[in-house]
């Protein structure tokens, strides 16, 4: 009974706060997640993502669109050890791929494919397009390992390599429909999906599997 009456009070309070909320309805934006640094329209060709731009809070007012992946309220760390919010990608076309650095077959192939996509993009698109790799391997893919991966694969400043918590990776994977599972030997079974995001962070194309589809992927980036 004691617990129940406590809860009753709690619920009544909740009701009150609701009333208060209703009296001064929160702006839609305030209910949304942290914002990207700048609206897409205003500044052409943001800096390469490798050198994380300092978010400009003043410009963070514009909400993400309803289908923007950037609504995902999780943060990652890049291969320099800096915190990285996916919303920072707003305004640029993005090719997103989940991977793990010690992968012996599928991931290297995908990276090779993406490098060739990048090389063959029209110059103006190539300048804007960002290639994002997010690691499944939250244990072994440390910042150092990811930095080494960048070096090995000679990934330029338009490539962003991220690691995150299990939670963050799992929610991102769920959003782009990637299934993965850690095997007993520490490697990962995973589906291969390259996801193309538009300037708003909305999925505009997905390349499934390991074969072909590079033209469509490039076209989606240039769209």
């Amino acid at each position: 009974m004691h617990l129940k009456s406590l809860l009753l009070v709690a619920l009544l309070l909740t009701g009150r706060s609701l009333l208060a909320g209703d009296a001064a309805p929160p702006s839609r934006a305030s209910t949304l997640l942290p914002e990207a640094p700048k609206p897409a329209c205003c500044k052409p060709a943001p800096k390469p993502a490798c050198c994380p731009a300092t978010p400009a809070p003043a410009e963070a007012a514009l909400p993400f669109t309803a289908e923007s992946l950037y609504q995902l309220d999780v943060s990652f760390t890049d291969d320099t050890g800096k915190a990285f919010n996916l919303g920072e990608l707003r305004g640029r076309p993005v090719a997103l791929n989940l991977f793990f650095a010690s992968c012996g077959y599928a991931c290297p192939l995908t990276v090779t494919d993406l490098l060739s996509v990048q090389a063959n993009l029209p110059a103006d698109v190539r300048e804007r397009a960002v290639f994002v790799l997010v690691s499944f391997d939250t244990e072994r893919d440390t910042t150092a390992v990811l930095a080494q991966y960048r070096q090995q694969r000679q990934l330029d400043g338009n490539w962003i390599i991220l690691r995150g918590t299990d939670d963050a990776v799992r929610e991102l994977a769920a959003l782009v429909g990637v299934k993965y599972k850690r095997e007993a030997d520490g490697s990962f079974a995973h589906s291969n999906v390259v996801t193309i995001l538009n300037a708003q962070g909305e999925i505009v194309h997905q390349r499934l599997g390991l074969r072909g589809g590079l033209e469509e992927t490039a076209a989606a980036l240039a769209r």
Binding site: E67, L69, C103, G104, Y105, A106, V176, G177, V178, K179, S187, A189, H190, S191, N192, V193, E202, I203, V204, H205, Q206, L208, G209, L210
Partner: protein, 506 residues
């Protein structure tokens, strides 16, 4: 789909296997298409678009008359529903289109089919469809794997004509099929099939209920019985009696009937047979050549189909059975084709003579043997018509009457005497029958048609006359039985009584 596994190490092969296994799937609800709509070439886009006509069993969509391919749009809805499996027995069927078997789909060879599978929001489970008419991995199963409250779409080209089974292929597959998820899709060959007067759709499937055959109430799926392949029910079109009485399929004398017959299973094959008919033409296993003529019984595999065609020459009721007969007699695999029209007694006379046969030591055909036979028949007839001489007690009459009943009457009035609601009146505790013993005998001998009210319920069906079929003794016996079975109670019927009524109008 799989690349050649010529990779150096097993580990690499394993990775490769995994890598290609799972393309990401997304709901149309979500931000992106699964694989995106197919880009159809101009010649396909130029084809006329039509909505497929789907029919519930036992009906078949009309033949396709167009001489060209089309883009056909099919919408099939999956619903999990409680329906009748037998009288007093309910079951939660998983259906394509709300019926078992599912809707009949009819398309033409070369058609490009845009297939939509809609899984109703009230479904407990994901479902999909494997159409045996589809050329491609899983027959569409992977592409149509659909969560409750979702809809999937895929496109296929009907390359091969024929009659094909479709079914759910979601694990555990035997349970999905065992709950009714199967149907037929006909891909007509370019020239079409020969024209016939009547087409019907019949599928056999078995049901693994926790209760034994006839046990009333809502039955559950019994996994152990399924694994042991011990189905209490083997039925046509999803329920006991789905094709009998007023639900029988019909034809007229002189017409040609084609039956598209499939077996959903999940396990039991069918020895499909129509009692009193011969399949004039047979397309075995649903193929497009009729390679066999004059077939009595055809074996139809689980997950297979067949096309049979026959002309009906005489009127009467023709019984469809699985000739693995306990399934017909004890488990429900029985249907009826009722044929109306004029008798042709040359083709089929009906019973002409019923005489006692005692055998003979005399030389066959001799004058004396004939006379002896006549005398013996006369004596036998006298004995038969006199219960005192025959020494029949009421109990013996009941026993003999029961045999008559189980051979003749039970199909309509049922073994439990309860009849079939809406079709055949009950005999158990029947106020109509028990009220008038003369009338009861008269109905059996002379038949009865037109409305009749039994226990407050009006029936309007036909009781065929039995005077040409049953002897007076048999009538007396069966009357004694029905007046003393299922809680009824009454005196034995005498042969003289029957004889008197038989002679009433003569």
């Amino acid at each position: 789909m799989m690349p050649t596994p010529n990779l150096p190490t097993k580990a690499a092969a394993l990775l490769l296997g995994l890598a290609l296994v799972l393309p990401a799937l997304r709901a149309s609800e979500g931000p992106t298409e699964t694989q995106g709509r197919v880009n159809l070439p101009p010649d396909v886009l130029a084809l006329p678009v039509e909505q497929a006509i789907l029919t519930a069993p036992p009906h078949v969509p009309p033949p396709i008359t167009r001489q060209h391919a089309a883009r056909v749009v099919v919408h099939l809805e999956v619903r999990e529903e409680i329906m009748r499996l037998a009288d007093g027995v309910e079951y939660t069927f998983w259906t394509y289109g709300g019926t078992v078997p599912g809707s009949f789909i009819r398309i033409r060879e070369g058609d490009v089919v845009e297939f939509h599978l809609d899984n109703h929001p009230s479904s407990k489970l994901p479902h999909n469809i494997d159409l045996h008419a589809v050329t491609g991995p899983g027959g569409g199963a992977t592409s149509t794997f659909t969560a409750p409250g979702h809809s999937s779409q895929f496109t296929f080209k009907a390359l091969n004509p024929g009659l094909y089974v479709y079914h759910c292929a979601t694990a555990p597959v035997p349970m999905h099929i065992g709950n009714g998820m199967y149907g037929l899709i006909l891909v007509e060959p370019k020239g079409g099939l020969p024209k016939v007067d009547r087409e019907y759709y019949v599928m056999q499937g078995e049901f693994y209920t926790t209760g034994r055959y006839g046990e009333e109430g809502l039955q559950s799926f019994d996994m152990a019985k399924a694994i042991d392949e011990r189905p209490p029910y083997v039925v046509f079109n999803g329920a006991v009696g789905s094709l009998v009485g007023d639900k029988a399929v019909t034809a007229k004398v002189g017409e040609t009937v084609r039956i598209y017959f499939g077996v959903g299973g999940p396990n039991v094959t069918s020895s499909f047979h129509v009692i009193g008919e011969i399949f004039d033409k047979l397309w075995p296993e649903g193929g497009t050549k009729y390679v066999q003529e004059n077939v009595q019984t055809t074996l139809v595999p689980s997950g297979g189909a067949t096309i049979v065609e026959f002309k009906v020459d005489v009127p009467g009721t023709f019984i469809l059975v699985d000739h693995s007969l306990t399934r017909a007699f004890n488990k429900g695999a029985l249907g009826m084709l009722k044929v109306d029209g004029a008798e042709d007694r040359v083709i089929y006379s009906g019973k002409e003579v019923d005489a006692v046969y005692l055998g003979s030591q005399a030389e066959a055909g001799s004058e004396s043997s004939r006379r002896e036979a006549e005398l013996k028949a006369k004596i036998a007839a006298e004995i038969r018509s006199n219960p005192a001489i025959a020494g029949l007690t009421k109990e013996m009459q009941i026993e003999k009457g029961k045999q008559v009943y189980m051979g003749l009457c039970f199909a309509c009035h049922q073994a439990d005497g309860k009849g079939l609601p809406g079709a055949f009146p009950p005999l158990a505790n029947s106020d109509y029958m028990l009220a008038d013993r003369d009338r009861a005998v008269r109905v059996v001998l002379k038949g009865l048609s037109g409305p009749v009210t039994v226990n407050g319920v009006t029936f309007n069906s036909v009781m065929p006359p039995q005077e040409a079929v049953l002897t007076d003794q048999q009538v007396a016996d069966v009357m004694t039985y029905v007046f003393n079975a299922w809680g009824n109670s009454g005196d034995a019927f005498k042969v003289d009584h029957v004889k008197a009524i038989r002679n009433e109008t003569r």
